[in-house]
Amino acid sequence: MTRPALTPGQLCSLLALCCLAMVGYRLHQLLPVEQWLTALHAPRDERIDQIVVHFSLLPRLCVALLGGAALGLAGTLMQQVLKNPLASPTTLGVASGAQLALVVVSLWAPGWLVAGREWVALLGGGLATLLVFALAWRRGLAPMAIVLAGLVVSLYLSAVNSALMLFYPERLRDMFIWNAGSLIQNGWAGTQFLLLRLGLAAAAMLVLLRPLALLDFDDQGARNLGVSLRQLRFATLAIAVFMTGCVVSQVGIIGFIGLASPAIVRLLGARRLSHRLRWAPLLGALLLLATDLLLQFGSGPLATLLPTGAATAALGAPLLLWLIPRLSLQGDRAPSAHMAYLHRHPAPKRLLMLLALALALGVVIALSLGQARAGWHWPSPGGLIEAWPWRAPRVAAAAASGLMLALAGTILQRITGNPIASPEVLGISAGAAIGVLGVILLTPLASQGASLLFGTLGALLTLAVLILLNRRNGLAPQRLLLSGVAITALFDALQRLALADNSPRTQQLLAWISGSTYYVDGTTALIALAIAVVLLIATLPFHRWLDLLPLGEDSAHALGLNVRLSRILLLALMALMTAGATLVVGPLSFIGLMAPHMARLAGLPDARSHLLGAGLIGMLIMVLADWLGRVVAFPDQIPAGLVASLIGGAWFMWGLRRL
């Protein structure tokens, strides 16, 4: 790597100067210079401007600095322990665990909140982290296993969370803001809370400093030096989680600081742990402070609350995208051995027939079995005809999107040779969703055509960005995946920003994001189905490429394949399918991840039967998810995308545990 243009110290000084200037300007806005000192140490009760400076502005600055430093420190620790430059508090499920816990408690046990929001948040974050650890336990808490499990747990908990916010928008008003991380303060209590707990955590960390530094060597080396790796990882992660939990419970979800500041510091040449531990917290603190100050100036004219946490995430995501090709990633390859469960079903044709039969059965159930006021019932033939126009389009749309996502997932997993690749994970769904979100928020009239167009454009643009950024390393699977995670995070941030407004309009946004077939009418369903079938037919001839690509670039090349061309063609097909499906069921579902997995587990290793099997499974799950969503909470309806991610996420977590 070339020598970086800046040292971490220079960058921090630069940022600190900017922050100082902004703080000065902000103070100047609020108070005449001669009163600054009074406001600082002894504000007069009857002077509200001094009070605001003393009890709002100053604690807000402190909380920004403390929170940013804590997240930077937590990120550094996590990255050191997991040996993964992309580990961070938010990617390990801590934030979403805390978030879900708060939602659940405020709905069903609000009394607990009085005992302390922070304890509920800590409990939730801790439980989520334990779940992540449990899932990765079998593999000795190996770095990649933990990050994977964290990602899946995060997505899963967010899905549950969205479902609850969809049903109780009025009661969860605070969560809409908390999700987007607001640093606004109402006194010094938040600062004291953070100072005390972060101080304790930092002290505990000092004890671990020496063994942690040994992790700069490889695992074997560290073990030879007498370090119990499992205990060390556990203790360090526990400290990092505790710090994250404290910050998150005070100010909500702050994206990316924990990920970006250690990564930037590393990029600027801080290689040794002691170096990183010095600069990453400082950079994190300054980054968060700078963002927060900028937003304080910006939120006036915009007539809306601009929460800082979502903003750092939105600003951080492009930064991460830029960083990824520049990071040196240890072992730049897919997590090993995943593609290895290659047992083959003795009669793939019979298996496919069985799956088709199951799908037919599922469709029959979805069309006929329903709930009414009197309870469950099979309708009479007359009732069936009556219900047909309401159920058929939804079943068809669910099947179509399931098929498209499953095919897209199969293609991706085979191209990248990575079993956790999927349109959802790669950010293609998120790209499509950003396109649609843009149309919805920025144009007064969002027609269906415009949404489809911009959704597809979003998916294609995301794909182009992915390819451009990763072109130099020949679309290496791992980096593709990481770029995808960054794009998903960008969408997540934008969505949080949009939802923080919590007006009647955001409610509809939430409904769409959750992925419902509710809005599909007959025509749309037919179009979706037709597109799905056409794309299936278009994909099948490429099955030889898909058989060769997972063998690795060299082998595929040796067997006469133009690797780059075939990858780009297949990826374009995949983007189309993803955009189509995302428009119908939103960006959340796990189908693209799960269906190809299940088909492979069932013993369909060759590309052709893999595609068909995954397609059938995708359709089956989606149809059942849609049906469940329609009948379980009757007359309310749970979006199919949510149900699918609940089922799929659970299944996937179970699968992870066994890997």
Binding site: N186, A372, D501, P504, T524
Partner: protein, 321 residues
Amino acid sequence: MTSASPRPAATRRPTAESAFHPLSSRHRSWRLPLVLLLVLCSLALTPVQADDTQPTPALISLDWSMTETLLAIGVTPLGVAAPESYARWVGAPAIPAGVHDIGLRDQPNLELLARLDPDGIVTVSFLAGDSRLSRIAPVHAFDIYTSSRDPWQRALKVTRQLGRLTHHEQGAERLITRVRQQLAGARRKTRSDQPPVAVLQFIDNRHVRIYGEGSLFQAVFDQIGLTNAWQGDVNNWGFRQLGIDELARLPADTRLLVIRPLPTTVNGQLEDNILWQHLPAVRRGRVHELAPVWSFGGLASMARFAGEVAQALPATEGATP
């Protein structure tokens, strides 16, 4: 006559929200027949002046302000959206037993709607864009909260339109008269030199919603002669989310009206909220908690709020330092 037809102005110029959902196909085709139908209906109704003896149509209400207004003019709908949450957030008038729950406001259960076979569906225009609703029954979209920001006038109009639609013109007029009386009563009780008031709801102990131009609360203030202390920008729904530090920008003599329910984390915790305690209004004891009012409600909610305000303000007048 036709100017007062139930055909709302809002459907003619679709707002951003009417076509909000990417998949809610906006078929204009249903509108023309619907307009004709409604015009015919209103023409047919004119000769029979205010005849409450005609059978009441079985209506579905997808919006709480419509549900509230229907109940207040004496019409029990066949089905309503989200009745449980209505009971919590709107409260009165209560929904009688036997009214069908037809699902969420944004996503009513269409299959159930079709099975109930209503005579009409009453909703707000940003939820009325779904062509499938009009296949089930004629859709009547009424808006109280629009970009014209005159909820009082619109609430009067919507109440009358609902009265005509349900053959309860007299019920509608009775409601309007009652509400006018209540507002006049509130106006008499309120001193004319009353300092400005601000209406807010706590989101959590650091954030509030403050209501301004275009909100229910502003409409009531206009009617009873109060000045809203918050003159800043608000969103299309007449509110803005703020950090409580920004409440310091309100005029020093402002009275704060806090709409209950308070979130659990705020209720009983305000003593520890240092910034809140230092706000001029709080220090002078000029804070009043009011009973819950649905902030996007109709006439009945407005009257209830007016009553609450009138009761709260003079009662503490003597205590003002």
